[in-house]
Structure formats: C-alpha cells, structure tokens
Amino acid sequence: MTQPIANCPNCGAKIVFRWSNSVQTVCEFCKSILVRTDVDLKKVGQVADLPPDSSPIQINTEGQYGSKAFVVVGRILYAYDQGGWNEWHVMMNDGTSAWLSDAQSEYALSLSSKVQNLPGIAQVHVGQQFNWSNQRYTVSVITPAHYRGVEGELPFQYWDKTDVTFVDLRTESGKFATLDYSDPEPALYLGEFVEFDDLKLKNLRSFEGW
C-alpha cells in the first residue's frame, strides 16, 4: 500500500498517510487539523488537548477481525452525560475502512452502510424497530453527545462539530447499528459487538499497575 507523504503546512513536520483514502488527518506535533486537497494539505483547524482518556486502544494499535488484520489510524472522541467514548477509525488489510467503537470497554465494529431512506431524528424513538440487511434492529438508546476532538486519519472531514445525536440499535443476535446525525443527511453504520480477546489487539496502551 502506498503511503503518501507530505509536510504539515503549519509546522512543516512530515505527515504520513497510512490509508490512501484518508481525507483528514491531524499533525502529531502541532495538532493542526489538515484536510487533503488535490494538490496539498490545508489547515482547517486546531485540536485542543484531548481530554484524559482511558481507552486501552491508541493510534497504531493492531488487531484482527475475522480473517482480516487491521490497524488503528484515527479516532473521533465524543462525550455524553454518562461519560465518553471513542470511535476508532481502523484500516483493514484489504483497504476497507471500519470503525471500532470503545464505550467504557464495550467494543463494537461497524462499517458504513449504503442503506437509503434513513429516518430523520425526529421520527426515531426508543423501542422502534427497523429492518436493514435482513436484520431487525431495535432502537436501544438515543444519545445527545458532544464532539470532543479528533486524532489521526479520517475518511471524511470532521472537525467543526459541537452537539451531535447518535441512535444506537441492537438485535437479538449481537448485531449493532448506529444512526449518526452529525450531518444533515443521516449516516448508518452496521456492525456487531466484539469481544476484546477476539480482536487480538497489539500495541495497546499500558496502565500503571496493570
């Protein structure tokens, strides 16, 4: 896989893209949010220091999902009134991108879905059911969240958010879905809950005393 290299327009540091389809990245050194244009990188914002975070996952953590290996290349950090969670952007070894969400050590892996005619936020309530990809999903929780920051590479521009709403759905077979209302057009992610041990994660953070 090619790894395009550029320099940070803000501080000049070397910027390496691990995923060729990345649209946005954050300079590791000056925390500038950089968006790829046809010709170069453009600084669009600055990440404030990320809040202290207890996820055992970090950029460059490697793992296994089914028969595919993946590496963590970026993340979006959210907070809500009962805590925070990470959406880790992972790159599979077949070039696809997926999201590994880590909400207080509850892990789920999901992929962007092309399902059309998604419900507007006003039409969704807890307990409601939807059929997507031959699965019946039940709305389990609607979470008003706050965008807290980004790190690393993302498949889209994501940096000027404040309040965003997520709708989590579950099935009776361990499947998982999220409706993301960050943008005017809702986005759907379909996936499943995964066991920490099954992911065979490497390059994890270490914790003092553990």
Binding site: E28, P52, D53, S54, P56, Q58, I59, N60, D81, Q82, G83, Q104, S105, E106, V126, T138, S140, V141, R170, T171, E172, S173, G174, F176, F193, F196, K202, N203, L204, R205, S206, F207, E208, G209, W210
Partner: protein, 451 residues
C-alpha cells in the same frame, strides 16, 4: 493483560489518581483511569464528580443506618474468568416487598482492557454480572403473569420478580452517575444458574446477565481471609443441588422397567411349568392322633436344577389348617422342610364386612436338583374342625418374579427421591418470587428441568 510494546504515540501512561475531597480533605483514589463518572469520598460520604479535576460535590448523603461495610474491600484484586479485576465501587440497594425491606450489595469491578463487571451479594448468595451486548426478547405484555418469559441467546428465562430498587449507600467509583435515593425498576428472569435482569431508569432499560457464584468461589477469587457468610435460603438463580437430569432418570427408569418386563416374559415362556403331582387328601381329626404323617406318590423332576412350587388349597372358613411339608429326594435323602398355613376368616363389625387370609397358599422352593421326589405331609388343624379335604399341587420349573419386584422398587426409589428433592428445592426458590407456588398441582417447574 499487559501490552507487549510501548505506546507509539507517546501518550502518558495512565495512573491511578490520588486527589483530595473538596469537602473534608480526605484522600480520594481514582482507580479506573477516567472511566468513573462519580466517586464517593470514603470519609464524609460526598458523591463527587470524577470527571471534574476539582471533584465537584454532586450529593452528600447520610448513611441512614450504621456503617455498611463491603465484604470485599475497595482496591482488592482477583482473577475472575481469566481476567484480573479490581473492586472500585460498592453500593447497597434495597427493595420493599410486602412491607419487608430486603438489602443487597453490588460491587463494581474494573479492568482497564476489559472494562466493567459487577458482583452482587444477597444473604450469602453471589452473582457475577455483566452488561448484555445482545438484546433479550421479552414478552411485550412485559411480566407479572407467572408464565411470562424472556429469550436470551437461545435460552428461555422465566420471570421471577419485579421490584423497585433504591440505592441507599455508595462507596468508591461508579461508571455512571450514581446517587443515593435513586429508584430503578428491576425485573429478574431466571434460568439457573443464570439470571437476566432488566433495570429501567427513566426510559432506558439496561439488561445484564448474572451467573451464580458460591461464597467460597468469591473468597478464592479475591483471596479473602476467613470464611464467606453462609447462604440463607434458596436464591432465585441458585443451581439446584440435584444435578441429575430428571427427565433422563425417568426415561432410564422406564427403559429398565420395559427391559424387566421383557425379561419376565422371556423367563415365563421358557419355564416348563410342568405339573408333577395333583392330589386331594382328607384330614380327619379322629385319625390324626399321634404320628399322622404320610407320604405322597413319587414324582420325577427332570432337566436342570430348578424351582418347585407347592400349592395348597383347603375350603376353610373361619378355620385354619397347618401342613408340615418335607420335600424329599428319594435318591439322595436330601430334604426341604417347610410349614404352610391355610386359613380364612370373615365377619362383620362396625366398619362393615371384613375378611382375612385365603383358602389358597403357594410356596416356591428354589434350585431343586433333578431326581425322584416325594412329599411327606403332616397336617394339623383347628380343634373346632372335625375334618376337611385339601388339595396339594406340585409344579416343576415355575418362573419366580419376586426379584424383579425388588429390582423395580430399587430403580423407582432413586428416581422418586431425586424428583422429590428437585421439587422441594424449586418450591423454595419460587416461594420467594412474584409467582409463589400455591399447591402441588400448579407447580409447573417441579422437575427443575427445562421444558
């Protein structure tokens, strides 16, 4: 669990945080590296905002009763299902059912990689609890009818109880916004040794799955000193001590009974049942003075050593006749002595008519070798009886079924005992539920088995 390689992005290694309570100044330790939402000051009972670097006070509560002490101290670590966990939080909750308040305790366990897990304890009964990732399928009519159930991962859980749980004492860290006095509607469905619990707070229902643990297992996991408190009564998801598969036991019993019947039929068919003597004699009192014995004709027993049945019939009525028999082998002189009484009484009393005894008697002598035999008979009779005829029948090679009866009972007994023990255990379990068994007939789960 530890990472093999150092972090590449150079993030600082998270450490347990030591802070001070803004109210009383006592040390407050944050053990969960930021996963906690709230932390309780151990000395002044302030609930503090663990996300706030200044630990803003969220609530102050009075321990209503005397100090509640966790059986597993905060900070204790133990290996549970292969993962090290540290006890970081503790709460006591209560529920009032029919004017009686029940208390139970919940421990928050933490591992930085695996996250949060819970232990609960009620009267010496423990449960290892984790949050369900898969949605249970619950009857829409939600609850309260004895048959209501929930399906979770392909297994059916029976509704046990719904109650209003109130948090009344907290200590340490919690991954949610804990408050003393908070109410939640808790619904338990059981499939021993597991319990499926739905906790409804506002509109959101959180499902968790618990598995029964014995106190000694908890003591072993956390290397606690002393002995765990003795469990009281039967808990909702406590596994039955009757581990035998009851349906299987009865199926095995039925199969064996059929086998016994077949065996009996087989032996009955194989038996020759050969009549070798049939005689009617007359007993006369007048002649019976002194030595009154006589011998029968000689009869032959052929084949292998087998049974000999001696049947006696006498038309007695409110009398008895007693016959001293000896079966004697003419060739060897070997003798089998036995006495038989034939008596029959009947009459009326305040309970109506009654009878006692029979006019028939039969006895089987086992393993008699082949040869020439005769009977020596010495009759005695009721002094009131002047004389009576009696018939003696001797049959060679008759089947004997008594041993099968014993085998039948020997097999039936354990099945009955196991079923009864399972039944009484299940009865104790369900007597604590919202659906106590009323009587024997509507106890549907008496087998303690999956339907």
């Amino acid at each position: 669990m530890s990472a093999g390689t150092p972090p590449l992005s150079g993030l600082p290694k998270p450490q347990a945080k030591a802070l001070n309570c803004p109210k009383c100044g006592a040390a407050v330790v944050l053990r969960s590296f930021g996963q906690a939402e709230t932390v309780v000051c151990g000395s002044c009972r302030c609930i503090l905002d663990a996300k706030d670097p200044n630990l803003a006070i969220l609530q102050q509560f009075e321990a209503a009763t005397r100090e509640v002490k966790p059986l597993i101290p905060l900070g204790t670590r133990g290996k549970l299902r292969g993962t090290d966990y540290e006890v970081i939080g503790f709460q006591r909750r209560s529920a009032k059912v029919e004017e009686i308040t029940y208390y139970w305790h919940e421990y928050v366990l933490f591992n930085p990689y695996k996250g949060i897990r819970y232990l609960s304890e009620y009267n010496g009964h423990w449960n290892d609890i984790s949050i369900c990732k898969t949605l249970p399928n619950v009857d829409r009519a939600f609850l309260d009818s004895p048959g209501s159930s929930a399906d979770y991962l392909g297994e059916s859980y029976k509704h046990f109880q719904t109650c209003e749980a109130i948090t009344d004492f907290v200590l340490g860290e919690f991954p949610w916004q804990v408050r003393v006095g908070e109410h939640a509607a808790v619904t338990d469905f059981v499939h021993p040794p597991r319990v499926l619990s739905g906790e409804k707070l506002d509109k959101e229902v959180t499902w968790s799955i618990g598995e029964y643990l014995y106190g000694r297992e908890v003591w072993e996991i956390f290397k606690l000193p002393g002995v765990p408190p003795e469990p009281m009564g039967v808990y909702e998801n406590q596994p039955s001590p009757v581990t035998t598969n009851i349906t299987g036991t009865w199926v095995a019993f039925a199969a064996f009974a059929v086998f016994l019947l077949a065996l009996m039929a087989g032996f009955d068919m194989r038996a020759k049942k050969e009549p070798v003597l049939h005689e009617t004699y007359q007993y006369n009192r007048a002649e019976a003075k002194g030595e009154a014995s006589f011998i029968t004709d000689v009869f032959q027993l052929t084949g292998h050593p087998s049974t000999v049945e001696v049947k006696t019939f006498a038309p007695v009525s409110n009398h008895w006749i007693y016959l001293n028999y000896a079966l004697i082998n003419q060739d060897t002189g070997q003798a089998w002595d036995f006495g038989r009484e034939v008596s029959y009484y009947s009459g009326y009393d305040s309970d109506g008519s009654w009878t006692e005894g029979k006019q028939n008697d039969a006895v089987v002598i086992p393993s008699v070798p082949p040869g020439h035999y005769y009977l020596r008979i010495e009759p005695e009779a009721d002094p009131a009886l002047p004389g009576i005829p009696y018939t003696v029948d001797v049959t060679h090679d008759v089947p004997v079924f008594g041993i099968y009866g014993i085998a039948f009972v020997a097999l039936l007994l354990p099945a009955v005992i196991i079923s009864f023990r399972a039944y009484t255990f299940e009865r104790s379990r369900w007597s604590e539920s919202d659906h106590p068994p009323m009587d024997f007939s509507n106890m549907s789960s008496s087998s303690g088995d999956d339907e």
